[in-house]
Structures are given as C-alpha cells and as structure tokens.
Symmetry: C2
Subunit: 135 residues, 2 copies
DNA sequence: TTTTCACTTGCAAAGATTTGCGTCTGTGCG
DNA sequence: CGCACAGACGCAAATCTTTGCAAGTGAAAA
C-alpha cells in the first residue's frame, strides 16, 4: 500500500534484452534487438521488446537515442558513459566522454535544482572538416 | 516574380508553414501544423508538411524536438533561443536560456572543433521537487 | 495453499513518419 | 520562345512506435 519500493518483478524479456545488449558497444535498433532476443525467446513479440526497452530506460539501464538514422537506437548503459556529436553534413560521429558532459549537467543541477538523467546525448552540427568546406 | 500570394498550389509550402509557426511560442505537432496550413493551402498534404519542415530544419529556421509526448514537435527558431529540462516524473518543464547552453557549446567547439547546430535541446531528468519525493 | 493484484504479454489496430515513384513547376540557358 | 534539369508535390505503401483490451503470471498477502 504505502511502501515506496517497487516490485522489480522478474520479466524474462528484460533479462534477455539486457543479455543481447551486454556485449554490444554499438547501438541497436528495436528490430535488431527483436531478432537477437528471439534466439532466447522465440515467441516474443516486437511490442514486448518496445515495452521492455521503455521499462529498462526508465530504470536507467538502457539509453534511447535518435541518431538521425531513421530508427531509434538502444544501448545498455554502462559505467563508461559516452555521448555523440554527429555531423549533419558528412555523417561523421565524434564520441565524447561523459566527464565533459557530466560537469555541465552538474552545473545545471546547481543552478536549477534539476538532476539530468539523460544518459546518452546526441548533438547535431558540423565537424571541423565540414565547417571548412562550408566557408 | 509577380504575385506570390495566391498561387493555388505551385508555391512553396515553406512560407505558409513559417507563417503558421511565427506567432506561436509553443511547439506544434505535424498534425497541428497541417491543419493550420490548410487554411492557406487547402490541398496541401501532410507528407508535404513533413518534407517542408525537414527542409526548414536543415536551413536552421525550424527546430525539431521530441518532448516525450508521443509526437515530435516543431517550432520556429527565433533570436531568443531557449531549451527545456523535462521532469520524467511530474512532467514539469524548466526553460533555460540559450546563453547558458551556448557557453557549453562554445566549449565543445574549442575542444573538438565541432560546431553544434542543435537549436533546441531537451534534457530529461528529475526536478527539485521530485528528487525530494524520491528519497 | 489460495487469493489478490499489479505488472507483463500478445494481438490487432491506431498513430506517426518516411520513402518510392510518377507528375508538375519554376529557373536557367541557348 | 522552347528545352532540360532540379526540386516540390501528391498518393500509396512501407516503416516505426504506441495504445487498447483481454488473458496470463508471479510475489506477497491472507
């Protein structure tokens, strides 16, 4: 009734999805995850994958990002968080460490009392090369 | 050339969309924009609205943001850029000035030679109130 | 052990966004 | 003026993601 603790409730889908995402460094689409998870749970539906991913994201275990590829991609959140800068011209991707972003998030927290939980930031722009080309 | 105001369908949808977005401070969905633009161009299709918005976004005149409401929202980019911090618990929205974000973007530019063009950032997290509730 | 109840899942359907393709239009050029 | 080309549009169809509803399941309560 009044206890604030949630019941994690063993969901086979969640475990299987984390299993699939564990060894992957690259971000996977819902389709790819569904295909991979089927090896463990042949009958699992794509809808369940979506719902499971949303659940895991809410729990901070998975990141959901739109990298501008047409389909959203998901990745397991690890200790070594990273973020991406994507060049809208050449499609090049620059990876930056979390420390650099975390410092700024901390500043936001101090100034606005808002604790950012976004764990994978994607910023679009122009890489050094394309900026040169553009002038 | 001559008049640009009454061409039945040959004129670009871009102008009509900017017209619709101009007075709005709030972000509109593709559906809402489509409905509004129809008053000027009754025959315009939703697909054209999407393509036009993408074009305008590429030109830096419109921002595209996923505020977690189920549908992406679009807004006209003005001189007074702003960004949002959205509480994933209560849905509350904190608006922050661009200056605060721009400083960080400038730092990224110095460090990585990457010029961010994202003009409306949305970060999810917990507001001060909900952080307190969560403890 | 049985009951309870919130959470999970599937299926079908809805909603949102993108893409393929053929047509039409405005622009620059000869 | 007439032509060629690139870009804009509409329509239909494909994708991607979410939602409504009914049924299944597990953990804690009774």
């Amino acid at each position: 009734m009044s206890q604030a603790a949630k019941t994690p409730r063993a969901s086979s889908a969640d475990a299987a999805i984390l299993q699939v995402l564990r060894p992957e460094l690259r971000h996977l689409t819902s389709k790819q995850i569904h295909t991979a998870v089927r090896k463990q749970l042949p009958a699992i539906s794509l809808v369940t994958v979506y719902r499971s991913l949303e659940r895991l994201a809410r729990a901070g275990q998975v990141s959901i990002s739109d990298m501008g590829t047409g389909a959203v991609v998901y990745a397991r959140v690890t200790e070594s968080l990273h973020h991406h800068l994507i060049c809208q011209d050449c499609g090049g991707i620059v990876t930056i460490e979390h420390a650099e972003v975390g410092r700024w998030f901390a500043a936001l927290s101090r100034r606005h009392g808002f604790k950012v939980t976004t764990n994978h930031l994607v910023l679009f722009g122009l890489c050094a090369g394309c900026q040169a080309t553009h002038r």
